[in-house]
Each structure stands twice: as C-alpha cells, then as structure tokens.
Symmetry: C2
Subunit: 497 residues, 2 copies
Amino acid sequence: MQANYKKLLKFTNKIADIKNAIAVLNWDQETYMPPKGQGFRAQQIATLSGIAHEAETSTAYENCINELLEEPSLNPVESKNIQLLKRDMVKAKKLPSDFVIGLSKATSKAFHAWITARKANDFELFKEALSEMVKIQQEKAEIYGYKDHIYNALMDDYEPKATVQEIDTLFSEVKTKLSPLLAQIAKSPQVEDAFMYKQFAKDKQWDFGMTILEQLGYDLEAGRQDLAEHPFSTTFSPFDVRVTTRIKENNLYDMLWSCIHECGHALYEQGLSAAEYGLPCGEAVSLGIHESQSRFYENNIGRSEAFWESNYPGLQATFPNQLGDVSSEDFYRAANIVKPSLIRTDADELSYHFHIMIRYEIEKQLIDGSLAVSDVKEAWNASYSKYLNINVPSDNQGVLQDVHWSHGGFGYFPTYSLGSFYAAQFEAKMVKEIPDMFQEIRTGEFSNILTWLRTNIHQHGRFYTSQELCKNATGETLKFDYFMDYAVKKYSAIYAL
Amino acid sequence: MQANYKKLLKFTNKIADIKNAIAVLNWDQETYMPPKGQGFRAQQIATLSGIAHEAETSTAYENCINELLEEPSLNPVESKNIQLLKRDMVKAKKLPSDFVIGLSKATSKAFHAWITARKANDFELFKEALSEMVKIQQEKAEIYGYKDHIYNALMDDYEPKATVQEIDTLFSEVKTKLSPLLAQIAKSPQVEDAFMYKQFAKDKQWDFGMTILEQLGYDLEAGRQDLAEHPFSTTFSPFDVRVTTRIKENNLYDMLWSCIHECGHALYEQGLSAAEYGLPCGEAVSLGIHESQSRFYENNIGRSEAFWESNYPGLQATFPNQLGDVSSEDFYRAANIVKPSLIRTDADELSYHFHIMIRYEIEKQLIDGSLAVSDVKEAWNASYSKYLNINVPSDNQGVLQDVHWSHGGFGYFPTYSLGSFYAAQFEAKMVKEIPDMFQEIRTGEFSNILTWLRTNIHQHGRFYTSQELCKNATGETLKFDYFMDYAVKKYSAIYAL
C-alpha cells in the first residue's frame, strides 16, 4: 500500500473511532441512560463532536488527501475514497464556523419552539423559528452553491446529486398514476383489521420479532436489538450494528413492521466492507438507498403473501387467542390495508408517498421563496384535502407532526419515497435473477435475497452513486413505473380491483 | 471566578468528557456488546485513550496549571484542585513514552501468558511473563521515586501516600489478633448454609436486588443495574453511576452481596460533587476509601443482624419453598459463615484478610527483590498452609487465581483490606453520632447513614487524603483495632465463643 495512503488511514480510522464512540453514547442515551444523566451526556457528545470536527478539518489531513489526489499508484477503490473524501472536505469547509454556530443556535431555537408549539397544538408558535430556519437553510444552499434549483443544494446532504427535476418527475407520476389507484381502492370493499388492535403481550411480541430478525439474516453476533421510544438502527462498526424497536400492547402493526424495517437498515450496514472502515467505500451511499433497504424488507418482503405464508403459523401459535380465528389471507390483507390518514409514520405504503410529496413541495417552495412561512399551514391542509381527501383537524395532526424542519432537515423527506421506488425496481430485477425468490420466502429462506443485495448494493459503499448503483444492478436509472407495477399488481389482488 | 481557572475548566471538562465516553464504551463492552464488536471496540477505546492522554499532557494545559499554582485569589477547593492536578501531571510525565509503550506490551504479554497458564493450570507457563512484569514494575517505581521502600511508589497509584510501614503494621495485627479469632472459630460448632445453594430463580433474585439498591439510597434516576460476568460499578458523571451484578441460580450469596457491595461503590460516586466534575475534588480519593464504602455496605450493613431482621421476611416471601423453613437467625449466621477457603473472591470477611496479606507480602518481596518469581508458588502455598491451614491443590486455585499481576496491578491488593478496616472505624464513629443507627436499619431506614457518609466522606472528593479524611471523620488515623472489635463482637455471638 502506498505510504501516504497508509497515513491517510490513520486519520480516517481516528475520525471513525470518535464518531462511532458518539454513536455509542447516543445509542445508550436512547436505550438505557437514566434520566438524570442527560446534562453531562449532552456535554460529552458535544465534546467528542468538537474533537471529530477538528480532526476532519485539520490541515494535516487535508494535505494528506490533496497529495493522494495526485497519486497515480492507487487502485480504483482507493482513488474513489480520495475523491469522495476531498468532496466531503470541500463541502464541510465551505461553511464558515460562524455560520455553523448560527445554524446550531437556530436549530436549538427551532426545536424548542416546535416542542412548545406541539404542546399548545398551535403552529403560530413555531412560525418565527421556522422562518429563521428557512432563511438559514437558504443561506446554506447559497454557500454550497447549486445548479438549476436552490433546493438541489440541500438534498445533496442526504441524497448526493439528486435534483428537483428528477424528484418533480417522480412525484408528477405519483399524482397521475398513484392517485387513480388510491381512488379505486377507496371505492372498493374495505379491508378489516380490528384484530390487529387486540392485546398482544409485549414479551411474546419481542420474541417473535427476534425470530424474524434472525430469519432475515441479521447477524446477532454482530448486533443486538433493544427497546427505544423511537425505533432506529445505529452502527458502531460493520461488526456491531444495532437495531431498536418499540412494542405497543394493543397494536401489532407497530413492532412487527418497524422491527423488519430497522432490520433492512441494519443488513445494509452489516454488509458494508469492514476493510473500508472509516472510508467512503465503507459507508452507505445515500439515505435514499438506505431507505430502499429498510422498505424493501418492510414492504416488498415483510408485507408479501409469501412471507406470511411462512410466518403466520408461528405468529398465530404465539397469539392463539387473538389470531386463532384469523386466516392467513385476512392477516395478509390487514398487513396491507390502505387507509389514507393524517400521520405520515402510520401511513400505508401507497398513501405514504402523498405525505412525502406534500412535505417536499412545501419545503421546496419555502426554500425557493415561492411560499411564505405564514402560508405553510394553509398549503399543508389544502394538500391533504386535495390528495388524500382528509381534513386536518389540528396542527399537531398536520403541519406540526414531524420533527424534521425543527432539526433543520430540509431536503431529507424525498429520500423516503426514493427508498420505496428503488426497492420496487430492485425487486423487479431480483425476481428475474432469483426465479424462485418468492418460493424461497414461502419456506423462510432469505439467503439468496441477502446475497443479491450484498452483491449489488451493500458491498459497494459509496463507490458508485445511487443512480449508478441502480443502473448497475437493474440496467436502468430509477423509474417510477416499477413501483407502480408492484402497487397495481399487489393491491388489485387485495382489493379485487 | 478567576479567568485562568475558567480556562482550566475547559481543559478538565474536555478530559473528563473523553474519559467518561471511554467508560461508556467499556460498560457497553461488559454488558451488551455483541461478540464480534470486540475488535473495533478495542480500537475505538484505544483511540479515545490516546486523545485523552494528549489532552492531559498538553503544554497549554500544563501552563495553565502552572500559572494557577501562583494565583493568590483561589479559594481552598480551587487551590487543592490545582495542587492535585499538578501532582498528577508531574507523576504522569515522569514515565517516558517509550516506557509506557513497553509497559503496555508487557501487560499484554503477561495477560495472555496468564490466560494460557490458567488453561493449562500451570504456573510454569506464567513465570517468564511475570518476571518481565516484575522487572518493569520495579523500573516504574524507580522512575516515580520513593522514600523508605520501593513498593511505596507502586501503592501510590492506588492509595496515595500509603506506606509499607503502615501496611506492615496492619498485617502484623492481622497475624497476631485475627489469627487467634479464626482459630477459635475453627474449633467451634460450625454454621450450616446448605440452603444457600438451593435453586433461586434469576428473575426473582434480580427483583430482590433492585429493592435493596433502592432501599440503601441508590438513585435509580441517576444510575441503573445491568448484568455482567464480573460485577463492577462505573461512573459517567455524578448523575449517571451504574452498577452491574451477576446471578447464579444455585448460589444466593453471589448476587446478594455483590449487589450490595457495588451499591456501596456507586453511592460514593453518586455523592461526589457535580460542581467539581472533572476535577480532583470531584473524584474518589483512593481505592482504599472506595473499598471502605463498598465493604461497609456489604459487610457492616449487609451482613448485620439488623439488616436481615428488616429484609429477611421479604427474601423469605420471594423464595418461600427454599427459605420457608430457615429462620432469620440461621440466615444471618449463614450470611456470616467463616470457612477458610482457597479463592479470595469467595472468602468470608475474616479469612479474606489473610488472602490479601499473602498477596501483599509476595508482591512486596517480588518488587524489593527478596523473593524470586521461581519461588512465588512455593511461598504462596506455604502461606496458605500456615495462615489458613489449607493445602493448595492446583495452581488455578492458588497462585494463578487473580488477574491483578498479569494486569500490572502491583500495589493494588492492600486497598481491599484497607477498605474493611476503614469501614469498621467509620462504623464505630457512626454509631456514636447516630445512636439509633441499627434500630433504623431494623426498620429499613438508611438515610441517616448515607447522610453521614455524604458529609464525612463522599462530598470531599480528593480534598483530603485518605488518612486526613479518616482523622476528620473519626478523630484518629486508621487503627486495626476497630476492625478487631467489630469482628470479635460479631463472631463471638455467631459462633458462641
């Protein structure tokens, strides 16, 4: 290995070690930390973040990267690592430290205002902080610079190289193609799911969730599951990737599909290259691709007829009193109930994309200045009425429901929909390359699926962009039609359209 | 506050934050980390340790301390912090970095040799590494410098200012005064404790342990208990002090008294001043005093008749089948069974001190050169025969049982006995100042006891030395007689001497 590249690894390992330590502190905070520990824990995380930032922006590190940019003897993976490290550093250095401090203050203020507004169920109390947040996000975009649309600059933090043009195209298809399907479903006889809200003992739900994790290929020697208020997955190294779940005694949906969803995220992280620890080629390529993995497992696998043909007998045996008289087919239909509702996180996999589209359009317009903060609530409520035929009865169930804007996460929402669309396209290719795929799922066999994802997605880290990855894996860049085909086929059967 | 002192706090907070983050990583490693996480976790801890070391030895930090040494406007606590920070820094800087690396390598080698020797149950395989370890410990003592006896230099890392002269005096009393008591007990009718080895369901043991923690005043909003293979307590801040325990289904001793022991450690740490976070006056003064807190709770409280008068009915109700026919008195006697045995960690509170004395004498002689490594096993076995009347049947049950030497912990062992002796002296004073102390314990009331310890011990951190603390609290420096009085009174009753 080239001497300078070895030197680089010292920098990148150190930075990764610090960031992974922060991840452990955060994980502990969300799972086990006693309440009084909060104050000093926040300070400890801030200190480590400062140390990480210092290491990431040091001149010695920058020089090392710059020297390697000129180095001809690197192999393709090494070269790609250097290019991406350079890209990351250039981007990070664009933001002056005064600006970073201002952003951090605006975020803190916005988050507190959001909490206050949530308590009062009143968007008015969030407006001022949101205005400041929008302004500072616009500044950030200007500092980053962009082509075509200012919002592109913000999306780049979450989905590198994504453009408004692409996302607009996708959502125009959501409107023209998915809307009619939703309308058809609304007119059909509805699915019954009252049994999902019976009492399901937490420990039994937990045990069932664990068997699913294992079955899907999650390596419990290199990870573990714990409880948290908001389920998440987190990574300390490719050999320690953890998931968390939440269990509600009177709602079987919650644990089951959040558990499978987080498992999808974790399988991606467990599949990243340990040899590339701390380097771009050992990191997930984008939030959209990350979400494609979680949603693929949650929806394409975890809400498939084949999956429940294999797993429903076990679930029924776990809850004989609650599910004894519910057929496998009825359970499958309940798992896929379509019922437009107010809250994004409770949405079914079809109406979900209207939730995302509404947020995307609002924040895009906020950032490009075509929508004023004072008009956001009206725009929100009008869109819910227009696309989901729902009246928003309160701000908490409407414009105040998500934390993202108060956290400064502008540009993040589209990645959720991208995830589903990528997942459908991957599935379409996968069934061609694993002809017995759903037959395998029917027998609880998932290793060929995981191998396909490892080979086509996980192992590459950031070597390819999302779109390159998609093209290499499926032969095409992202197309909405794959999702539409998947949706029409699945829901036509369920709703007898 | 003086400007330079404020500047100092930035350094000390940063160092504390990094070290506490390391503590979180270690805690996770011992409690929840999946097995494959080990490799990268070790690397992450090493990286953070390096960063902490850099911060602790930086010139800017040293200059700040030096300037404050000359600062007349500091209050007594601030002054003491500066003096102790200076002392710590001078000590840390004495060891050249080549030496530190050599020590770390010798430790790694010795630990692996010890593991190998344990597997083969053969001290021969540990000898060479132990010789190297002794040599490097001697070098360390020479670098530190010492008065009177080379071993003093090593004890100073664990029990600042302790001397061989003091420890020799204490152990000579152990020999002359405790030996006869042990001999008397050996001749008396023995205590029956077979019922302690019945089957006790783990979850019920756990629940009972939790009620004890709460009763003793451990703040579960500022701490938590988890399971670990080797029980320990650890601190991330005064508001997040955690304990761990171990539960054996067929041994009630193990969980009960290790739980109470760790609780004593944790109460000390929860009682340290949060305002002095990261500063000497916010740190425990010595391992001996730390152990006095754990042993006070474990033995003076947790093996007292009063404690079980209050708690035995609850334990009996938890395990009616196992303990229904065991009287409170018989349980109390079993809790205090004296039965010289081979393994230190299983020892009763009297013969325990012979285990310590034997180790102390061997390592003192190893360090001053009066005992060769090749003679250690013989010396060990001869001492066990002489003081405890026990034949050592194998190296694993003898000279290879403890990890300390392979970890380089020379000078550590005496602090265990110091802990018990301090605890007895504290108790003697406490009963004078809290006349109803044991009556309070009988009713499950521990707040006056905790207040006494908070006032006399915990809150001071390192402001006083161990001996000053002892003198302030009890009117005298450490005297063995308090332990002897405690032991004679307690065991005369139990064994009808």
